[in-house]
């Protein structure tokens, strides 16, 4: 398969300037997403998964700076584009949905109008046509009674419905890549299942690539093709979803699995991960940021991290993998 990936992130490093020092939030992160593929970025808080997405979209906090790397998308490096050029891409080719759908929508604008706005701005629709096309999108995301709902404000809709609206806005212009940042956190498990199915179907229909950011490993495993595991700003392992669950090769991935309820039969079998995140402000961080917590640490671990291929599309950044 030598088709050009939809998104290829390479050697991405991001730093944040804070009062307490410079935090090296991401270091040499690289992964790719193929057409039609769903890739999950999985990690605990502080892993840098959201920062990766924000960097690619060009919406990093002003205190953040991309210090190296490229994000090749549609033949251009997103990180090198100007704000104006990026704004052209966003909404049209590159789309994002967020946690907390109700707060991500404009509270004082009817939802139908919000969808219409994107269609006109990026989708080339004309103003008179846009409302009708917006209702079409609502139908596509299976909102019952779409004509009436288009006239509603976000506060009148439930969390699940607001998330569907966000999906409608994000997919209105049929983007090539959708980034979903914890879109179902806070939703009920039944609503979550429906939303995940919906995203999957729409992606499949249009060959859209999806990056799905979550802390829920099981969710990633069920709905995504590949999983990329992050820890303290590094990618530690990437593998097809099923393989990661049955054969995790990085010690952190294995520990993460062992800490996930649902994968064990009893509470006694759950194990927490020893140690804590390293302080990312230190100038003397080791090459492997997991090594200080790792029981499999060997001398080699002080060397720069490798990217070992241990199976088909299965990469591990470890000198002593399981």
């Amino acid at each position: 398969m030598t088709a050009v990936p939809t998104l290829a992130v390479d050697d991405l490093s991001v730093e944040f300037r804070t009062r307490a020092g410079t935090v090296k939030v991401l270091e040499r992160v690289g992964f790719q997403v193929d057409k039609g593929e769903t890739v999950a970025l999985v990690g605990e808080s502080g892993s840098g998964k959201s920062v990766t997405a924000f960097a690619v979209m060009g919406i990093l906090d002003p205190a953040g700076k991309v210090t190296s790397g490229r994000a090749m998308f549609g033949g251009a490096d997103l990180l090198a584009l100007s704000e104006a050029e990026l704004a052209e891409q966003r909404g049209r080719e590159l789309s994002m949905i967020f946690q907390n759908p109700r707060t991500a929508l404009n509270p004082i604008r009817k939802v139908g109008r919000q969808i219409a706005d994107v269609l006109v701005r990026h989708g080339g629709a004309t103003r008179p046509d846009a409302p009708r096309l917006a209702v079409d999108m609502l139908k596509k995301v299976r909102i019952p009674d779409p004509e009436r709902r288009a006239e509603a404000y976000p506060f009148e809709l439930s969390g699940g419905m607001c998330q569907r609206i966000m999906i409608a806005i994000a997919l209105a212009c049929r983007p090539a890549l959708l980034i979903a940042d914890e879109p179902t956190t806070g939703l009920d498990v039944t609503t979550q299942a429906v939303i995940m199915d919906l995203i999957g179907e729409l992606a499949h229909e249009s060959g859209m690539a999806t990056i799905f950011i979550t802390h829920d490993l099981a969710l990633a495993a069920e709905y995504c093709d590949r999983i990329v595991v992050m820890h303290a700003g590094h990618i530690v392992e990437s593998a097809p979803a099923g393989t990661l669950f049955t054969m995790p090769r990085h010690p952190y991935s294995a520990k993460l699995l062992a800490a996930t309820p649902g994968e064990t039969a009893s509470l006694g079998q759950l194990a927490s991960i020893p140690g804590g995140l390293p302080d990312l402000r230190r100038p003397d961080l080791p090459a492997c940021r997991y090594s200080s917590r790792c029981e499999r640490r060997i001398d080699d671990c002080r060397r720069p991290l490798p990217q070992r291929e241990v199976g088909p599309r299965h990469l591990v950044a470890c000198w002593n993998p399981l």
């Binding site: 605990e44 498990v189 429906v194 069920e222 993460l256 064990t264």
Partner: protein, 317 residues
Amino acid sequence: MSALLDIAELAKRFEVAGRRLLHAVDEVTFTIGRGETVGLVGESGCGKSTLVRLINRLLDPTSGSIRLGGAELADLRARSFAANPHRARIQMVFQDAGDSLNPRYTAADAIADPIRRLKHLKGAALRQRVEALADMTGLPRELLSRFPHQLSGGQKARVGIARAIAVEPELLILDEPTAALDVSVQVLILKLLQQLKGKLGMSYLFVSHDLNVVRLLCDRVLVMYLGKIVEQGPAAEIFGDPRHPYTRALISAIPQADPARRIGRLRLGGEPRSPIDPDPSVCRFYGRCPRGEPRCAAEMPLLRSAGPARQVACHFA
């Protein structure tokens, strides 16, 4: 196992615009035994939070009975319950530990507050008790003088737990205690809760969206939908063999990595019915249930026995 908490026909109806009634909790009946962990699950809007507030007496019921070890609590006004001797018997661990801690109180102040108010300890005795609680919940003593914004999520959770067990309650309500925590910290907190339960002889009412956690921790599970309990029974049975269509939809929606273990998917479309002035003879799940027969719209299904210790409210379960 004798019953610690006995809830009978508990109901809470709120008045909404136009003299209509919102049935938040509708004739709910169940018990919690001594030393038992009972899970309470259901989607948002099902009445879980209202039920919890009725039980911990922050809210007055419209009707029904709340008996704690034989004492009837439903008649006591929520406004004055803080001064009641029974106050210390039911305590709660909150969902968002950060939100549940007063930003102007140190961890020590927060833990000391209920001890001061309900056990009337002061000075050295109080301080010793606070330190003992910190030790018991794995909170390093030097963190006691810190404010909430100086503590991590896991540490705040421990402060919340220490405060809740400070007055040795018999019933501890846990409202999504690990929802905001990383998976690794969650393991530690869950194990701590399990250990404390045995050590202090408490019963737990565990409210959660995370069904995997409920399965690990709970002896019995109550499933709520639109104010009513639609199914209850031992945890293993509820998860292994859900009978009520809503429970089936819930269980089958849990993300499952292993395709072999995925139960037949039951997808729920649409939105729940309105809890305002609901028709008393129509099943609350009718319209969303994949199986909807004429009988469902004519007769409200009641909780019936479906095995030893098992109850389902469905005509066809």
